[in-house]
Subunit: 243 residues, 2 copies
């Protein structure tokens, strides 16, 4: 009930300023010891190592040799710090590969996005729900849409394709990250096979699929598989639009 108050819009405005506004001109007091990117990088290092649960204002402050409360001079709160970390971690969108059609560009785009999420698994949980997007995040979106201009799709369809690809990259990164926690040997073992043992009659199709997949090296190709299916579907739509 208090989460939808008037404070919410004020928080949004402050966050928008934090992400979009360039640091303003000459100040009056002493020079700041820290910078926003440095704080974000410190937070990213901690979250990369110990996840979002390990991210504490205290630890960020310690890694920067300041007190916890010093951070609040730069960042309104922890939520805004995480938003800033996302923006820095995702980084600027990479240049499109030369001499590539829309399909090659989108393929590269999705794989690059997958890589970012793989490098920063905490970003998977941090990017759910409504939030204010930063310049880098919008830059990535812009690149995907730019790749689709001239294909005959209208704006809504282009946005839908971008969302579809982003979702696939996100989800695959999540699945791969989930698999590698714990001992690698127990990854899929404790994930599925151990659960299915003794209940073979309840999940016949699942058992068959897992056994069949175990013979092939299927786990590493899930990203390629989904990407091919999605882009095949988009290609079909484009070809239908341009007979």
């Amino acid at each position: 009930m208090d989460r939808a108050g008037a404070d919410d819009v004020a928080d949004k405005r402050r966050l928008r300023e934090l992400l979009w506004d360039t640091p303003s001109g000459p100040r009056r007091g002493p020079r700041p010891t820290l910078t926003l990117p440095a704080i974000a990088r410190a937070g990213i290092a901690i979250a990369d190592a110990d996840g979002l649960d390990g991210l504490t204002m205290q630890r960020v402050a310690e890694s920067l040799d300041v007190t916890k409360m010093a951070l609040y001079r730069y960042v309104p709160g922890k939520a805004e710090l995480v938003a800033l970390m996302i923006e820095v971690a995702i980084g600027e969108p990479p240049p499109p590969p030369a001499d590539a059609g829309w399909r090659g560009q989108l393929d590269d785009w999705a794989r690059q996005m997958f890589d970012r999420f793989r490098r920063h698994p905490w970003a998977l949980t941090a990017t759910v729900g409504a939030r204010v997007m930063g310049p880098n995040e919008l830059g990535w979106l812009e690149r995907a849409l730019a790749a689709l201009t001239g294909t005959g799709l209208h704006g809504g369809e282009m946005l839908d394709v971008a969302v579809l690809l982003l979702g696939h990259a996100r989800n695959l990164a999540q699945q791969v990250s989930a698999m590698e926690t714990g001992t690698p040997e127990q990854a899929l073992e404790s994930g599925l096979a151990a659960l299915l043992r003794g209940r073979e009659e309840c999940f016949p199709a699942l058992i068959a699929a897992v056994e069949s997949a175990a013979t092939h090296a299927a786990q590493d190709q899930a990203l390629d598989f989904g990407l091919s299916r999605i882009l095949d579907g988009v290609d079909l739509l484009i070809k239908t639009r341009h007979p």
Copy 2:
């Protein structure tokens, strides 16, 4: 560092027992006042209303007229409570629609999954990362794989298709949930257009796409669009496999 200790495997084992083992036989002491499903339902009600941040052991206990510590007699901790809530909220997989091919079955499956995530938005953030899956969750997966048996795809491909569809349903639910927080009028306004105002030269393709999408009623069709593209791609693969 302490998160990958030997306690982790013990936690996993306890959670597996919590989700999979049926309540055992006759007890010795007094009758328990609560049941696991009742606790899960209470937690779900709170999380549905106020999100995962609003979910507190205190509040769950209050809504059940017990003390906070009484809950720890049933659930090892908050993480396990959330896992139980996921399992109860997702529910048993619905029966497949009669007289439907693999495509119709998967289409229905994805939409049903989308509905579940829409009803319980907190499940979006709760289902990221490595976790122990429950019987219901595996039952859903089984249904998707069962729909694909006989299509000529091998096990790994069937799993990949299921993951692809699950990811799309998840992501669309997330996007729709993110849009509807705050006032509906400001939904996409504060989400994108407000940010783009004044920076038209940086995001030309984005601006064009958003303007073009505003004329059509594109937002509601993102689920259908992605689903059609994915299933088209899968159909193409199946047809290629069976010439």
